[in-house]
Amino acid sequence: MYAAFFFIFAGAAVGFAINLLIQRHPVYSALSLIGVMASLASLYLMLGAEFIAAVQVIVYAGAVMVLFIFVIMLLNAGEEERTQRSKLARQAGAPLLLILLSLVATVLYKQFPRDSMVQFGDFPGQTAPIGRLLFREFLLPFEVVSVLVLIAIVGAVVLARKEP
């Protein structure tokens, strides 16, 4: 049962990701990206990490991608034109991609042998342990990231302000 769901959602994630690349209209690409995020959230859910799954949907699918689509629609971006692909990309692209993927796969298999892989439902996805980790063990990095985000917000406001 779990294996079937895994293949459905993993397949959907890969399918949406490929669709993201081959679509020519930015809105369709953005929609595919939402599909990728939602499929990943389902995979997190099956691992037992419910909190992460919910946050994935709320933050990425619900907030970040809405802003993407908002900007695409506001600028009224049209379809992209296909260009003549370069000779190098046409001939070396597919083999290079294969080499890269097999390298990544080999490293992953070497690093994590079969018996140390995660199983479905491995993570006790409770919210409280995550909060405890964030605010006790990783308090400094957490706060540093918050300050970083704050700097970004202030920077955006300064850049967006009209010249006096």
């Binding site: 419910e50 949907v57 709320i58 699918a61 907030a63 908002f70 629609m73």
Partner: protein, 335 residues
């Protein structure tokens, strides 16, 4: 997964779906009747006694109307948008507890699930606005995405106070934490979280695109906003989704702030009747909130767009933040 579990869950889901569709249909009748009374007229009276069969007549009209797709729309998103709106609106009811044991699924992140689902709701509207390829629809869609992003923040911040009091993200446990009394008043979250409730309810009205925040479909300036180019059942799907969202928001207000299925007075009914008492209190509270929705619609004029934005960002979000800080401070002092 065992088969009986799947069958029982399916039956629950079907019952909830049927009840919900009926409620959404009669909510339209309810709204038309009350707004009519507020405006000193009768409302629907012709179909059935008190116009009670009006929803049926509306449904037949919408079903038999010509399903028209304008030229120049982006076909796939145009067809996807109404389905997405309705699906997302219905999904929220998977985790809402109507009474002890009356719940399709008790997720331990129930509240986050609802927030996640409602944050996906904006796509239906935005896609409809863009895919229709018409300027009024596009403006409606743009407005709604800006509005929903802004007010989602206020909603999320205003429910954190409840989370701090209840100590759980599961909706069933949030309701259970509100049983019992403080002296004469019931232990409902609305009393310690009055400010939180205020923020939540205003933001919920904005989130469901109802008056006075119905800018996405403001008919005086945008014809009908994001669903201008839709007709027949596709329009009906947006319509049902909007009313379903109203019911969801009322259910959430009941669960988070008004004690869910707990009544304000203990009941002395005999045992077999006792089982329906929680359902009665829950439905009564939801209907009261729906009435407030309609009442507000009948009373207040629409906001201007810049008023809406500055109200959300300069008043509601800071107020919810202050509420959050004060609540956590009090809880930290007590602990």
């Amino acid at each position: 997964m065992p088969l009986p579990f799947i069958v029982i869950t399916l039956i629950k889901a079907i019952v909830v779906l049927i009840v919900l569709m009926t409620v959404a249909a009669y909510l339209v009748w309810f709204e038309r009747k009350i707004v009519a009374r507020i405006q000193n007229r009768w409302g629907p009276t012709r179909v059935g006694p008190f116009g009670l069969l009006q929803p049926l007549a509306d449904a037949i009209k919408l079903l038999t109307k010509e399903d028209f797709t304008p030229a120049g729309v982006f076909r796939v998103p145009y067809l996807l948008a109404p389905a997405l709106s309705l699906t997302v609106a219905l999904l929220a009811f998977a985790v809402i507890p109507f009474g002890p044991g009356f719940q399709i699924a008790d997720l331990n992140i129930g509240l986050l699930f609802i927030l996640a689902i409602s944050s996906m709701g904006v796509y239906g509207i935005v896609l409809a606005g863009w895919a229709s390829n018409s300027k009024y629809s596009l403006l409606g869609g743009l407005r709604s995405s800006a509005q929903m992003i802004s007010y989602e923040l206020a909603i999320s911040l205003s429910v954190v106070g409840v989370l701090l009091l209840g100590g759980s993200l599961s909706l069933r446990e949030i309701v259970s934490a509100q049983s019992g009394v403080w002296g004469l008043v019931p232990r409902w979250n609305v009393f310690p979280q009055l400010v939180g409730f205020f923020c939540f309810f205003i933001a919920a009205i904005a989130e469901t695109n109802r008056l006075p925040f119905d800018l996405p479909e403001a008919e005086t300036e945008l014809v009908a906003g994001y669903h201008t180019e839709y007709s027949s059942m596709k329009f009906a799907m947006f319509f049902i989704a909007e009313y379903t969202n109203m019911v969801t928001a009322s259910c959430m207000a009941t669960i988070l702030f008004f004690g869910g299925w707990h009544g304000p007075v203990p009941s002395f009914l005999p045992a077999p009747l006792q089982a329906v008492v929680p359902l009665f209190w829950f439905s009564l509270k939801v209907v009261l909130f729906l009435f407030v929705y309609v009442w507000i619609r009948g009373t207040l004029p629409r906001f201007r767009y810049d008023q809406l934005m500055s109200f959300g960002w300069k008043f509601l979000v800071p107020l919810a933040l202050i509420n959050l800080v004060v609540t956590s401070f009090v809880i930290a002092l007590r602990a």
